[in-house]
């Protein structure tokens, strides 16, 4: 019953989305705003309907309805309730429905804004969002239905369907297979929702961009409308990526946080174009330049979002992540093809209308530096995209399977990343239109000089890795410039309004949230880079087999193996748990409990490391293996990860900065200005 409600709610939403797109199109062609308005109302219906469908599925999951195939594949009786709820996105079918639900949320929200100033954009935005939603819903309804019931056909096959096939008998398994053990970690629980929010969020600026192109507008109204939407989408995408890294570090058990896995890269690529877009739209808003380029960037972001989803779900590139391949691959391919070709055609068609005021005051002006920033981001994108595609090309043309792994990506992106860090330090001091290398130099020389203290200090401490020294120097430089900016502006406010430092900073951030939010984000990036350099350059590891009481040494740390126990837990797993004591520089610092959980239902094991985390470093212990006879020979793999906590701390600062940047500015302070009556009349 509930399954039928869910399925039909989804079906009706699909029809509503199609109607909405069609009505918008008709209203546009025949110039009948009643139809466009009807389309908007239909759009508003999509989210409540899908909420009903999602709640239906969640209820089915939580109340153990194992006659539904999806429920049987992702839930089991021994799972705690909160995990059953998250099982909504634990499998292909449910996650497509979940994606559609989030897409509908954004579409409905866009339908609810005040449209009276932008009536001509409305039908286009409606069409793009509703067609995208309809596409994903079509996948759910026709190919990956989460509401299908299990039946046993007379031939002995087990199938899932909404209606019983002839002669088939309904089947109700006693228990389900349970969620993939890897997905039962808190980070994993919110990583997909965050990523999906990021992905679907970028559909809105894309829809407005298409609307602007289609209506032949060359101004940046669409950018100003979607400014906050873009920032919010980018926030979620960044958060999703950070959470994914954290999950990787905690649960995948290989001592790292980013493996350059094709699916990780598939989520990174829209983030790269999205970040480039965030920067370059500022140039369009200020100077009216780069109109073509911004269109290209937002189209690429949308295409990469769909492409990333396609890679993850179609099995074209298998990886740790990929869902099993299915019939939806060709559908995705068709959708990507059609939308890319259509967007590109539209853009090329309207190329001339987008003529901007393309004039550059100086090679060191902020516009030029932002363009350089974009070039570097596109460089990273080219490396990522090519690395992901190449194995496919190699197999197609030479029949040889190759792996493009971390060394390729790391070697290529490190110099580009360092370049971006340097820009982060230099750009805040540049001004729009002006800035020569002299003016820039004047602003920069003080922080640059001060930053020399860092390589000096590191060399004095005996550090000999020049790459790390260079990296830390740049980070020091960026931090000093950013803090200097804060301090200068706070000092100016102090001089003008007599505010103390903290009040000045608060008011500053309040008055120009985008700028100061941006600086906080940059500081977050600096902290993350600090952690990344620490773990990438200075990580050490060792592996050894210990008998009870024996110890191993890694750098300043000594670890003793104390005990091993094995037991079953009520939620269906068999846990092998080791107890180890850790000593740093001879001093006892704690006990760690690395363990391996074997899940009976899914016949999969998960390695949970025991980690001792401080700001300075992580001591990370994994239980690799053990002899089943007696307590001899338990094998541990131990990592020492310096500074890795800064990655998570930096991530937090990053997210905070984004929230500051996205918050609406307080109203500007009234400044008395003498203006003629005529000017006042026109400006109003």
């Amino acid at each position: 019953m509930l399954a039928n409600i869910g399925y039909f709610a989804t079906l009706i939403t699909f029809l509503a989305a199609l109607y909405s797109a069609a009505a918008a199109f008709y209203g546009l062609r025949k110039n009948r705003s009643a139809f466009v308005e009807s389309a908007r109302r239909a759009k508003l219906l999509t989210w409540p309907l899908l909420t009903l469908a999602s709640l239906a599925l969640i209820t089915l999951l939580v109340t153990d309805h194992y006659e539904i195939r999806y429920v049987a594949s992702v839930a089991s009786r021994t799972m705690p309730t909160y995990l059953k709820v998250t099982a909504l996105w634990g499998g292909q079918e449910g996650s497509l429905l979940f994606w559609s639900w989030l897409m509908a949320a954004f579409a409905t929200a866009s339908g609810m804004r005040k449209w009276h100033r932008d009536q001509e954009l409305l039908p286009w935005v409606t069409m793009v969002t509703m067609l995208t939603l309809a596409f994903f819903l079509s996948l759910v309804i026709f190919f990956e239905n989460p509401f299908g019931r299990l039946y046993l056909t007379p031939e002995g096959e087990q199938v899932a369907a909404m209606l019983a096939p002839r002669g088939a008998v309904p089947v109700t398994p006693l228990d389900g297979r349970g969620l993939n053990p890897l997905l039962r970690h808190p980070g994993m629980v919110i990583h997909p929702p965050m990523l999906y929010l990021g992905f679907v969020g970028f559909v809105i600026p894309y829809a407005f961009a298409v609307a602007a192109l289609a209506t032949g507008r060359s101004d940046d109204r669409w950018i100003r409308i979607t400014r906050r939407w873009t920032l919010v989408a980018w926030l979620f995408l960044s958060l999703g990526l950070i959470l994914g890294s954290r999950w990787s570090y905690d649960v995948l058990g290989w001592g790292g946080y980013w493996g350059w896995d094709p699916v990780e890269i598939a989520a990174l690529m829209p983030w790269l174009t999205g970040t480039a877009f965030l920067h370059s739209v500022m140039v369009q808003e200020k100077k009216g330049m780069l109109k073509h380029w911004n269109m290209v960037l937002i189209i690429m972001t949308y295409a990469l979002v769909i492409f990333g989803t396609f890679l993850t779900r179609s099995g074209v590139l298998s990886s740790v992540h990929a869902f099993a391949e299915s019939a939806i691959g060709p559908m995705f391919f068709a959708f990507i093809g059609i939308t890319t070709v259509a967007s590109l055609s539209l853009l090329l068609n309207r190329w001339e209308t987008l003529k901007g005021d393309n004039s550059l005051g100086s090679m060191f002006s902020r516009e030029a530096l932002f363009l350089l920033n974009n070039l570097l981001f596109m460089g990273v994108l080219a490396v990522c995209f090519w690395g992901v595609i190449f194995p496919l090309i190699s197999e197609l043309f030479t029949g040889q399977k190759v792996t493009v792994g971390p060394p390729f990506y790391e070697r290529a992106t490190t110099p580009l990343g360092l370049g971006l860090l340097v820009l982060m330090g230099v750009a805040p001091l540049s001004a729009y239109g002006r800035s020569t290398w002299k003016t820039l130099g004047r602003g920069l020389w003080k922080p640059a000089l001060a930053s020399l203290a860092i390589p000096a200090l590191l060399l004095w401490q005996g550090l000999s890795n020049y790459g790390a020294i260079l990296g830390y120097w740049i980070l020091g430089f960026v931090t000093l410039v950013t803090l200097y900016e804060f301090w200068r502006a706070a000092r100016a406010r102090h001089a003008r309004h007599g505010e103390n430092l903290f009040l000045a900073l608060w008011r500053l951030a309040g008055r120009n949230r985008r700028r100061y939010g941006g600086y906080i984000i940059h500081l977050g990036v600096v902290l993350m880079a600090l952690g990344i350099i620490g773990i990438e350059v200075f990580q050490t590891e060792t592996q050894d087999t210990l008998a009870r009481g024996e110890q191993l040494t890694l750098g300043r740390y000594v670890m003793t193996f104390d005990a091993l126990s094995q037991f079953d837990t009520p939620d269906g797993r068999n846990v092998t748990r080791a107890v180890a004591s850790v000593y740093e520089d001879g001093e006892y610092v704690g006990e760690l409990y690395p363990r391996k959980d074997y899940y009976y239902a899914s016949q999969q094991a998960v390695t949970i490391p025991g980690v001792r985390s401080t700001l300075e470093d992580d001591f990370y212990v994994m239980l690799v293996g053990w002899e089943t006879t007696g307590m001899q020979g338990v094998t541990f793999k131990v990592y020492h990860n310096p500074l890795v906590s800064f990655i998570w701390l930096g991530g937090l600062v990053f997210i905070l900065g984004t929230m500051v940047a996205a918050w609406p500015d307080r109203d500007p302070e009234p400044v008395p200005v003498r203006v003629s009556a005529r000017a006042r009349a026109v400006r109003a």
Partner: protein, 165 residues
């Protein structure tokens, strides 16, 4: 029979020559190569079956066997390069972390820098032409005869300058 003997001798000679040519260091005495030494080689290889999983962290039984194979060869004095070559021969090029630089694979290393340089060139050209456009006075603005328009322009420019980002 003789064919097999010949092949066996060839293999033996090959291994012998490789061992001679690359004076491989003898591993630690006693129990043979440590786990760390095995992992140092395994880290640079990928599991031939499970895609995109490095060999030193792969938990499957097959991977354990491969790590044992590495350990044996280290004990026999093979160098890291020799072991990697052996794996490539046995399982194909996909066990390496990056494609071997031969044939079509050159494309994977060449294209990104070429694309980047192409992008830089396009950017440089665009910047230069925009710089030139700025250097010439633009005729597109109406002569500011009307004091009202001049005032509006002034206000707009003041707004633009004062409000950063």
């Amino acid at each position: 029979m003789s064919k097999r003997l010949l092949i066996g001798l060839t293999w033996g000679a090959l291994v012998g020559v490789m061992l001679l040519a690359v004076a491989a260091p003898v591993s630690a005495q006693g129990e043979g190569p440590t786990d760390d030494e095995v992992n140092a080689v395994a880290r640079e290889l990928y599991c031939p079956v499970c895609e995109n999983v490095p060999l030193d962290v792969c938990p499957t039984k097959a991977c354990e066997q491969w790590r044992e194979a590495i350990r044996e060869r280290l004990a026999q004095g093979w160098s890291k390069e020799q072991i990697k070559q052996y794996f490539v021969q046995q399982y194909g090029a996909r066990v390496l972390a990056t494609p071997p630089a031969q044939g079509l694979n050159w494309l994977v290393y060449i294209l990104p820098p070429v694309a980047f340089l192409a992008g830089a060139w396009v950017l440089a050209r665009a910047l230069r032409s925009w710089r030139a456009a700025a250097a010439q006075p633009i005729e597109t603005q109406a002569p500011p005869e009307d004091p009202y328009i001049a005032r509006v322009e002034e206000e707009l420019q003041r707004m633009e300058r004062g409000d950063d980002v």
